[in-house]
Every structure is written in C-alpha cells, then in structure tokens.
C-alpha cells in the first residue's frame, strides 16, 4: 500500500503469514521468558534451549502485530544454532539498526546505552543481518520500533537469566 512499502516489505509479510519456529519447548531443559509491550498489549513468550554455549533450539509464541510477529520469527531463524556470543552480537547489531529513532519515543534508552548503538557490534559489518535488513524500514515508523524490538529484548533477558 502506498506509503507503507517500507514497513510491510514482502519478506516481513511472509514471516508474518508463515511464522518460523512458532510454538513451545518443554521447560526444562528450555527456559521460558515473557516480554510485554505495555503500551499496546503485545506479548511474546520465548522458549530458549541453551546447550554448550549455543542456542540449540528456540520457539516463540504469544500475540502481536505483523511487525512483532515477523521480527520474532526472523530472530528465531537467525539465532537458532548460533553460539550465545553470536546471538548477542546479532542482538546488538539489530538494536543498533533500530536505535536511531527509538529514543525519540522515550523509554528503553537504558537498554540502548547498554546493548545498542554504543555497544560493540552495533555497527559491526561482520555481523550479517540477512533477512532482518527488511525491518530497517520500521525506523520510519517510530511507534512500531517497540514492536520490532520486543522479541529481541526478551531474548536478551533469556540470555542474561540463563544459568551460567
């Protein structure tokens, strides 16, 4: 639709219509972590199975808009099988992509300072975003940035809370 091409790229709609890694994992061994977007009611539930320092398996459930759903879907596809360090680098890179405008709407500036543009990896060209690049258009729609970052913040939380 005119004006919305940047937001609703075809690949995004594809992940929205056919979400990858949707579902649940038995806990344990997986961890279950919930994320909320208090302003709009979106909820994401991540099931993360960490094994030997890698994201052995990951599933996502919950409810949300096309952006939060597709972002979650792409994220699971991107981090599954990756090492925790690689996943963290990807989170930083993705949040760097989103950070330019996120502060404009308040909140979360803390996380940005920790994980975002300033952190290592934010601009690291070695970290490949692949399909995730499609979400770049979201920064033109600042309220939707929180939709795009919801599952990523939840993943950060899961990695942080993981038993060492």
């Amino acid at each position: 639709m005119a004006g919305l091409e940047d937001l609703y790229r075809e690949i995004i709609l594809d992940h929205y219509r056919s979400p990858r890694n949707r579902g649940e994992l038995p806990t344990p061994p997986a961890q279950r972590v919930e994320g909320f977007n208090p302003l709009c009611g979106d909820e994401v539930v991540l099931f993360v199975d960490l094994h030997d320092g890698t994201v052995a398996d990951i599933k996502v459930s919950g409810q949300g808009c096309s952006i939060s759903q597709s972002s979650g879907s792409m994220m699971t596809a991107a981090v599954k099988g990756k090492s925790v360090a690689e996943a963290r680098a990807l989170i930083r890179r993705f949040k760097g992509l989103m950070s330019i405008h996120e502060q404009a709407l308040g909140g979360e500036a803390d996380q940005l300072d920790e994980d975002g543009a300033d952190g290592a990896g934010a601009d690291d060209p070695d970290v490949k975003l692949g399909d995730l690049e499609a979400l770049q258009g979201v920064v033109k729609f600042p309220v939707r940035i929180k939709c795009a970052t919801l599952s990523w913040n939840t993943l950060t939380q899961a990695l942080d809370e993981a038993p060492a």
């Binding site: 639709m1 979106d42 409810q63 096309s66 952006i67 939707r144 939709c147």
Partner: protein
C-alpha cells in the same frame, strides 16, 4: 454565526459542518489525506473557542490565583472560581464547593483512594469494582489493597457486554465503597448508575463514579445520580490537557485528610504542624492549572451551547450508522465488542477484523488519514476477559459525521488487501 451561537438557540440537531469549522485541527492533512479523527475516547480535539480563551487569559489576566490583591490576580482568581462554578453546573453538581480540580481523572481517583480510602478502610474491608474498569479505576485500589489489605470484588461483565448485576447485592454486602465507570471506554456500554447507586447506598456503601467517558458525551446530572464521588477529565471534553476534577459531597471532603501538602491548601503552618484550609481548597495544593481551568470553562460553555442533548443524539445516530455500515460491508469478518443497541452505549466501538492485528489495522488506516486506537485501551483485565490482546477502537465526537464512518469502513478493506493471505 458560529456553531456555538447556533446551538444556543435551541436543542436543534447538531450542525456538524459548522461544528467542524470550529476545530482548527480538522483542516490538517495527514499523508495527503483529510484528517478523520476517530480517537476522541482517548482525547478530544479542541474548538477554537477553548484555545482562544486560554490565549486571551495568558495575554491579559495571567497571575497566580488566591495570592495577590492586585487587579490581574483578582481577575485570575475570579476566572478560576468562575470555572469551578461553571464546570460544577455543567455536571449538575449540587454544590461547587465539592468540586476539586485535579490534573486528570486519574489523580482524582487516586485522591479518593489515598485520602478517603486511607482514612476509612482497613484490612478486610471490601471495595466493589467491575471487570470493565479502566486502569485509572483499578490500580489505585490495587495499591490500596497492597497497602491496607482491603478486599476487592468485581461485578462481572455479562454476555451482552453489559454489567451482570445479578449478584450485585451479594457483592455489596458489607462493602464500604462501590467504584465504577459510567461508560466503558472499550465496550461503550452505559452503566445504570442510579440503579447501582441505590443498591450501594442501601447496602451502606458509598459510590464513586468514573465519569471520564460520560461527561463529554451524555447530559450529566450528578445530583440526580445521587453519587458520592464523581470524577472526570478535561481533555476528553474539548478542554485542555492538565485538568480534571473530582466532585465529592462537601461533608465527605471536610472529613477527609488532605491528599497533597503544600501552598494554598493550608490554614496555618508551623514548624511542628499545620491545619488545613476549607474545602475545596484543602485538596488543591500548589499552583493549580488555572489557565487550564479557563480553558475547561470555555469547553463546557462550548458544549453547553451545542446542547448536550443534541450531542448525545448525534452520537447515537452516528453510532447506529456505524454499526450498520460495518456489519453490512464486513459481516462476520468484524467482531464488535459492545452492545449492538445504540441507545445502550456511547460512541466508542472496539472491534477486531479478520485475524489482522489492531496495530496493523491502525497503521493502514493512518495512511488514509484515519486515526483509531489499537491496543488494550488501559483495560487489560477486560481485554483478557474478552479473550483478545488488543482491539481496534474507533470513537466518535461532535465533529464526526457519516463520511468519517464511511472512510473507516472503506479503510478496513485496504487492511484486508494488504494482510489477507
């Protein structure tokens, strides 16, 4: 002749074209489209009369109130107290002394919870709420529950989106207060206030009404409703942000301890204690939003001139039109959460459309200049009860007309085009 002058004549139907001309923002274009503002339940737009009244006040009479003997201060104070009387009259308050200005209705409800609740409730005491409340009438009581150990009971929503009052008497049994919204901001359902009030009083409970969604849209007569506390908020009724009010029976205010402490609300202050001023000043600590009071005064004059009966009639007929048009075009693709009978509801229409998430619906509509709200509308428990995480809500006010509804009906099809599989 402006809409205001026209309205003054008689309770003639709203001349919407004239009303629209009173709202400068409606001239704005969004993404190249005409602005179709359907989010008045979140906040209304402001007529020029309100903006002009505030600007004129700041440009001619501005001075702190109740504090000076000079001309400007006298004018300022008179303007503020005139606003109190006019706003009290607008809602049919029996006595303007009971009208405390606050920053919004949320503060107004917190005032009652903290001051009246803190002084009159103890562990085990029951307060009755409903399942359909806005967070503003839930969280203050949840906080009090954490603090004092009071018990909260909830009137459930019935199958037809009205309150299920079957067990009201049992819920009220032994309760100290019943606090409920006069109109659901999600469902649009109008509450049978007087019926509940009578039952509550019969059970020995006081009554607090959250009038945030009622006062802007329906003729309100607090005296006839016989309630004890009645809160409302300026920005939803053509007034500015930064002002709301709690009307309470003056005897109640007199017996309540102060809420916020500071200048103005005192009678005397010593380093070891203080005494409080008369009501309502006792509850108005610090410099009040007096320019906003002037704006709210202009807003109730504006609405009064349109005639609240005419406002209500307009919204009933627009809501009827919208319910019909949405169903005709979208049939079972749309689920509307709220009474289907326009006379039982206000003009807030919450719905879900095909499996498309409300954020996406709203984003697509925005592209056509249509402003609707998507989310939980600050009523998460109700949305859980409805079994949805979010709805899209379109809400109407004096400046909306059938072409706005048509734009909404049409816009949904665009969302369908983009998102359907």
């Amino acid at each position: 002749m402006t809409a205001v002058e026209a309205g003054r004549k008689a309770a003639t139907p709203l001349d919407v074209a004239r009303v629209q001309a009173d709202f400068p923002i409606l001239a704005r274009r969004v993404h190249g489209q005409r602005l179709v503002y359907l989010d008045s339940a979140a906040s209304s737009q402001k007529p020029r009369a309100v903006l002009d009244a505030m600007a004129r006040f700041y440009e001619t009479s501005n001075a702190n109130i109740h504090r000076g003997t000079y001309q400007l201060a006298v004018e300022s104070t008179e303007a503020y107290e005139a606003a109190r009387r006019a706003v009290a009259r607008f809602v049919g308050a029996p006595d303007p002394r009971g009208l405390v200005f606050t920053k919004n209705v949320t503060e107004a409800i917190n005032l009652v919870a903290a001051s009246w609740g803190g002084a009159n409730l103890k562990a085990g005491d029951a307060v009755v709420l409903t399942e359909v409340e806005h967070h503003a009438n839930l969280v203050p009581w949840l906080m009090l529950k954490d603090k004092l150990g009071i018990e909260l009971r909830f009137v459930p929503m019935g199958e037809d989106y009205t309150l299920d009052l079957t067990h009201l008497d049992r819920l009220l049994d032994g309760a100290k207060l019943m606090a409920f919204t006069a109109m659901s901001n999600v469902l649009g359902t109008l509450t049978p206030i007087r019926r509940i009030t009578d039952a509550a009083h019969a059970a020995g409970a006081l009554v607090l009404v959250d009038g945030a969604q009622l006062v802007p849209h329906v003729p309100t007569d607090i005296a006839a409703l016989d309630v004890d506390f009645f809160g409302f908020t300026g920005h939803k009724m053509c007034g500015p942000t930064g002002i709301g009010a709690m009307w309470a029976r003056p005897e109640l205010l007199e017996a309540m301890p102060p809420f916020l402490g500071g200048g103005e609300m005192i009678r005397d202050v010593r380093l070891d204690g203080f005494t409080t001023a008369e009501v309502p000043t006792k509850f108005e600590a610090g410099t009040m939003p007096f320019a906003e009071a002037v704006g709210l005064h202009a807003a109730v004059e504006y609405l009064g001139a349109l005639g609240m009966d005419a406002v209500r009639e307009h919204e009933v007929s627009l809501t009827a039109y919208a319910l019909r048009a949405l169903k005709e075009r979208h049939g079972d693709d749309i689920t509307i959460y709220g009474p289907s009978e326009p006379a039982m509801r206000g003009g807030a229409l919450s719905f879900t459309y095909k499996g498309i998430h409300p954020h996406d619906v709203s984003q697509v509509l925005d592209q056509k200049g249509i402003c609707v709200r998507a989310g939980h509308h600050c009523a998460k428990p109700l949305l859980r009860r409805l079994g949805v995480g979010a709805t899209t809500r379109a809400s109407f006010y004096v400046y909306n007309d059938e072409s706005d509804v048509d734009a909404l009906v049409e816009g949904l099809s665009d969302a369908d085009d983009l998102f359907s599989l």
